[in-house]
Symmetry: C2
Subunit: 215 residues, 2 copies
DNA sequence: TTGATCGGTGAGTAATCACTCACCGGACGA
DNA sequence: TCGTCCGGTGAGTGATTACTCACCGATCAA
């Protein structure tokens, strides 16, 4: 019944992976509706008909891409290491550098934005895997540091969003809007981290600027 | 030769405006390639053929939208007022509230993102009108306050991007990724402003955390 | 050798796309 | 009353789309 040897199954899997990779680049560059199945086939070096042997519809191919791509976790473990040592500086520097690092490819960010804008069903899941973990983890860490008195009292989720916001917005400007970077990324990272951590430190003098909590 | 009375010219202009408005909503919701001219016509309540009487191509209609939309400047004057009085708190609160305000419609942000992602020729101009002015103005103000000793030394452009980054990212999460807001926007704004301004204040003690400038 | 089962393709198909064109009806000056 | 614009439309046009199908050649167990 099934003559699928190991090698043929490998070859089949390779084809599938190559299709996913080619399609991901095209979808990231031109969006779902902006990419044709003929282009995908040409980019993968096969006929258009073969695409539909591996994926029943164009949308299924798109879904397979979003479901597969979720590369992180090697970062999270490094961050956790620093978090245990309460090295705030390095915790935030790691996260920022990871996102701003020069070689980071824009594919993921563009794919994420396109999927959210075009309202794909899996966009939420994609966002969850790619970003939500950072917010939750960061918010938890910030809460801990507040409890320990290292940070001043602040909504930890908002603080986490603020930091990720700086960093992601920076990528957005650079990769999507082609705004040129006028200084090396290390400086960018350290400036953001410094700005953020300074903003979180408890004031030595009991500060009195009532506008913060109540309007 | 020209029997175009004032009223007819008005009617013509109204049609055009109504087409632009209908099309803008659709383009914002589904992108350029995701929107059909038939849909635009139906949304405006006219025949598809009429769309092409007013705009030679679908792309020309899109271009007209981007070229027209640029609503701000009433904000900038209010900000300048506060800037003259060196009311940092209010300067940044104004800018943040303007972008986070509850009634702000997501059309502009989505249009901006779509145009940048889809690589429209006018995307840069659109971005310039909608956002660049803020960066330049803010960076200038921050530089002034640094010179006056009110803020610590920091790259003013990066600082401006950091602040706008927090705010825009917040909108992005809310409007594009449907992340729920867990607290009222006034609190969000004041938290961000407080975080940012605290991060900019010169340290009373001569601080010594060498990581900031050199890697 | 046979024949069955693969991976792979060229040549379609129906639907949809942006865009065109011949034509309509009513307002208006003569 | 007549002619002439002019805003507006229904019914197309060719091109492109996602997707299908009949078919090919290589491989390999029997």
């Amino acid at each position: 019944m099934k003559a699928t040897t190991a090698s043929s199954r490998n070859a089949s899997h390779d084809r599938q992976a190559s299709l996913i990779s080619s399609a991901a680049n095209l979808f990231a560059a031109k969006g779902f509706k902006g990419t044709t199945t003929k282009e995908i086939a040409k980019a993968a070096g096969v006929s258009e008909a073969l695409v539909f042997k591996y994926f029943p519809t164009k949308r299924a191919l798109y879904t397979a891409i979003l479901a597969e791509k979720a590369p992180l976790s090697e970062l999270l473990s490094a961050v956790e290491e620093c978090a245990r040592k309460r090295d705030d500086q390095r915790v935030f520097t790691l996260i920022a550098s990871y996102r701003i690092r020069p070689g980071a490819d824009p594919t993921m960010l563009r794919l994420l934005l396109f999927s959210a804008l075009e309202g794909h069903e899996l966009a939420d899941m994609f966002f969850g895997k790619q970003h939500r973990v950072f917010y939750d983890y960061l918010a938890g860490y910030i809460q801990t540091r507040i409890d320990e008195g290292a940070f001043r009292a602040i909504d930890p989720l908002l603080a986490a969003r603020a930091f990720i916001g700086m960093v992601v917005h920076h990528r957005l400007l650079h990769e999507i809007f082609d705004v040129p970077l006028h200084c090396p990324h290390e400086d960018v990272v350290s400036t953001y981290v410094e700005l953020f951590l300074t903003g979180l430190r408890p004031s030595s003098t009991a500060k009195k600027r009532g506008v913060t909590r109540v309007r």
